[in-house]
Amino acid sequence: MTKIFIYGIDGAPPELIFDRWKADLPNISALIENGIHARMESTIPPATNIAWNSMLSGQDASKIGVFAYTYKDNDGNTRLVSSNNIKTELIWDILGDKKRTISLFVPLSFPVRPINGMMVSGFLTPDIDSDCAYPKELKEKIKKLGSTDNFFDVTQGLAGHKSLDIDTLLKRTYEMSDMQTTLMKDLITSEDWDLFITVLIGTDRLQHMLWQHFDQTHRRFIKDSKHKDALKDYYIYLDKKLGEILNLLDDDTIIIVASDHGMARQEGKININNWLMQEGYLKLNKDIKEKTRFKFELIDKSSRAWATGAYHARIFVNKDLEDWQITLEEIENKLKLIPDDKGQQLNTKVFRKEDIYDDPDAEGCPDLTVYFDDLSWASNPDLGQEGLYSWETAVGADSAGHSRQGCFIIAGPGIKKGKLGVIDIRQIAPTLLRLLDQEIPKTIKHKPIEVT
């Protein structure tokens, strides 16, 4: 019987895995050579919590019901999203009692639900005492691995990720990854399963902070940094862990290595709400002089549009406007003309909700989604910024941001060899179902990838 093991590497960019560092990653290289690999177009937006759930459901953000890390509850409060917000069936729901799934660290799987198999939730987990493991007995195994403070993410409690110095960040990332891969190896051999899904978040955490230490084209490149090889070394470590895992898998197991999105150097940030104010679309109900996080409560009722979203921008046009459509088109056209800080034209992409989503009427769906310079520039929704450009948000600087394409590699019994053109992240769930000899629900519109 076919089994599938997924080694998820959060935010691993095809440029690093398929090209730049391929020769340093022997296990990943062997899978590339012996199987199929492709660049994979992520969700709109290419955000971790949406993209992994898209990969595991075959649906877009509107069907998943999640557009950001927060949502507005019925009382108008800004709340953190959780697995309870997911509206669509995920692969383990579709497989039901037919196939046994083990899911480790999938983003937005907290709180865990009973499934036919086992589940440990991902980086949005508060701590080990929460609903982070199914069955609960798994917690005992986790506690034996080391400090649980560091098990779900590199920062816990109120300590900020960007406030960590790089040495501490690296130390904690390795500690976390050691514990997580040890649990994987334990469950691979001690449990029965048909589908084993894992997501390692360490790459994302390091990439955001370390890009300018190795990328010479970065405008804030740090020459001869002592951390210039730190990211590459972490990839080498992940490749070694993958090798250890491959040794434990049966011959009838198909291996997938995948990332939910890519990563690219970040040039800077565009102060999107400043721009909306400057153009007369947004008015605040009080004078903001200091850097302040954007809040819906600060929007004056007469405002025509406002924006949220770090990295990409999400624009909402006031639904009460009589000239809603005209305003939307006007903003859409003007956004494309915003230049960089040196006056150069940007390759900005603006998406309308009806063009990109299956359910544009979904709660919280933005009217426009904006990729400044196709995500080389980020959006900064903070208020009280001076001018149109900023180099850090209220929480600190970024050296890289998410890019549109992640990686997909598949190898194992019956899998063809070769390189495919760009595939879509929504094709993965139906591909998994077909490989496991299960019916693909009609609600999944995307076709499986031809891998056999």
């Binding site: 959780s82 508060p126 960007k162 770090a310």
Partner: protein
């Protein structure tokens, strides 16, 4: 309620008879008004079950939000 806002649905006769008996002496003056009342109750219960349940305690939510902010993920 105006005529145009009302639609007709079918009920098994036996059920309609049971309802007729049930509403005798109550404030409901027709089977239709009773069924409307009951269905609203049912749907409201179902909808409130559909709403996201509280996943985080107040303290946990603060903790995770702070972590996300420090990652630059929370706008």
């Amino acid at each position: 309620m105006t005529e145009s806002n009302i639609t007709t649905i079918s009920l098994p006769k036996v059920l309609a008879e049971k309802i007729k008996k049930r509403i005798e002496g109550t404030g409901f003056n027709s089977v239709s008004s009773y069924v409307t009342y009951v269905m609203r109750q049912v749907l409201s219960n179902v909808e409130s079950q559909d709403k996201p349940k509280e996943a985080f305690s107040e303290q946990d939510e603060k903790k995770v939000k702070e972590r996300l902010r420090s990652l630059g993920y929370l706008d």
